[in-house]
């Protein structure tokens, strides 16, 4: 936590909301490597904090540094290719699973097969319609899709919130494999047991009205 250039460093970050701030004067250092679990009650701003990492949300005050560089100065598409994201609800694009994996990057059939392999899906999934996958399968497809740009960081916004126990186990196993292979993960959860199981580092957020977060 004391390295000169943490993965992300939030300095007095406030994100305005419609009636109250979604994040208030939050100062947090997120270390490089492993899985950093972000916990906190509903409304604490966990998702907002995550979305600020890839500039899907921007702070109204404060700065966020990514490996020592202010994210506001980084071209958003470039940043987002290096900082991938898996959302809480799996979003399948129209078409086949292979079409989904080719959404951002031109991939050959072999590369599609390798990606499916990495997330524990059989290669035959490539031709299946993405909309027909189960929740767990769809979330694994979304993980594979996020990996197509070879991100060095992966943001995971409660990716197991809507999955059954088996699927949760599979996703957690994949997260650990990615972390062990050198990808830094930021994993949002409200599940304390999961935070204990998965987290190498912990960031606990309080409610914005309780004072500065982080």
């Amino acid at each position: 936590m004391t390295s000169p250039n943490p993965l992300f460093e939030y300095q007095e970050v406030t994100v305005a909301g419609a009636d109250r701030p979604r994040l208030r004067r939050c100062s947090v250092r997120i270390p490089e490597g492993g899985i950093t679990v972000i916990t906190g009650p509903s409304g604490a701003g966990k998702t907002t904090l995550l979305r600020c990492c890839n500039r899907l949300t921007v702070p109204s005050e404060g700065t966020i540094d990514y490996r020592g560089v202010d994210v506001a100065t980084i071209d958003p598409p470039t940043l987002r290719r290096d900082v991938g994201m898996v959302f809480q609800r799996p979003v399948a694009f129209p078409g086949s699973v292979a079409d989904n994996l080719r959404a951002a990057v031109e991939l050959g059939d072999d590369e599609v097969g390798e990606l499916l392999d990495r997330v524990g899906l059989a290669q035959s999934f490539g031709t299946r319609r993405a909309a027909e996958l189960s929740g767990g399968e769809a979330q694994r497809m979304c993980l594979a899709r996020a990996l197509t740009t070879n991100p060095s960081v992966l943001l995971a916004d409660e990716p197991t919130a809507s999955l059954d126990r088996d699927a949760v186990g599979v996703l957690e196993g994949l997260a650990r494999q990615l972390a062990d292979a050198g990808t830094s993960l930021l994993w949002v959860t409200h599940d304390r047991a999961q935070a204990q199981r998965l987290g190498d580092h912990q960031v606990a957020l309080g409610l914005p009205e309780d004072g500065p977060g982080g």
């Binding site: 890839n54 500039r55 899907l56 949300t57 921007v58 958003p76 598409p77 470039t78 987002r80 290719r81 991938g84 994201m85 959302f87 609800r89 979003v91 694009f93 129209p94 959404a103 951002a104 979304c142 899709r145 996020a146 197509t148 740009t149």
Partner: protein, 274 residues
């Protein structure tokens, strides 16, 4: 005979045959309005005043427009007045777009762009290829066809753009998160918005002649023009409308979408339709 010739022939035939209703005929046609009012009263629909006001307003508006058009389309009138008229039509069409879609950002400017683009391209094709001759009698009616028939499609296109992006926000943001540009991330939704706005005109074009006889053709036939000539004029007009609707909806959707993303490639908060 050229299409322009058919138009001229129609005018001549109109003068010769007196196909335009007399004042008495026009008054008698008001009986149909009375019928609508009677139905409303009988079924207690409560729209009697609205029907009467609509019929009266239409008569007043058309009388005023007819008087103004007489000045503009007379053979002695300078062509510049026709172009001024066209500019005014484009302006008021953009005002109407803004009024009908208040939730759309910069609706007036985008409408102005869309109508200007389609008027320019459509008239360039029509006059450039000699389909119609440039004259006071052709400029205003043809531009009116372009702008008038594109109006509802433009409003629909603007509203569908916001609706598609709002309803598929998670999909768009998932694409943005993959490092796609705003335009690429929104592509499927913009395509759907253009398609939705185009479909009514495509369906109208498909059903022409089978389900309904279009106004220009009916007018020509009533004025004594041979049906074959009326068909040629009508076809040119239908193609003109189809092309202009395609141009306006595309310009509108692409234009509005630029206002719905921030410069740093984020999807803005989208308003709900009022």
């Amino acid at each position: 005979m050229s299409a322009a010739g058919a138009v001229m022939m129609a005018i001549a035939a109109d003068r010769q045959t007196g196909a335009a209703p007399t004042l008495w005929g026009l008054t008698a046609s008001g009986g149909l309005v009375a019928m609508a009012v009677a139905i409303s009263a009988w079924r207690r629909l409560g729209v009697e005043r609205a029907v009467l006001w609509a019929a009266t307003r239409a008569a007043l508006q058309l009388a005023a427009i007819g008087a103004a058009l007489t000045l503009v389309v007379s053979p002695d009138a300078p062509l510049v007045w026709s172009w001024v008229w066209v500019l005014a039509m484009v302006f008021f069409a953009a005002v109407t777009v803004r009024r009908r879609s208040p939730e759309v950002p910069a609706a007036f400017v985008m409408g102005l762009l869309a109508f200007s683009a389609t008027t320019l391209t459509s008239l360039a094709v029509l006059f450039g290829f000699g389909i119609f001759a440039v004259s006071p009698r052709t400029v205003v009616p043809l531009a009116g066809m372009v702008v008038g028939n594109s109006l509802s499609s433009v409003v629909l296109a603007a509203r569908r753009t916001i609706g598609e992006l709002r309803d598929h926000r998670d999909e768009v943001e998932s694409r943005l998160a993959l490092g796609l540009t705003a335009r690429a991330a929104a592509q499927p939704q913009l395509r759907a918005a253009i398609r939705d706005a185009l479909v009514p005109q495509v369906e109208t074009t498909k059903s022409v002649g089978l389900v309904f006889l279009p106004g220009a053709m009916v007018g020509l036939i009533l004025a004594g023009v041979e049906p074959a000539d009326a068909v040629r004029v009508q076809l040119a007009v239908m193609y003109l409308i189809l092309g202009s609707v395609a141009v306006t909806t595309t310009v509108m959707v692409l234009g509005v979408s630029t206002r719905l993303f921030t410069p740093d490639q984020r999807l803005a908060e989208l308003p709900r339709a009022e």
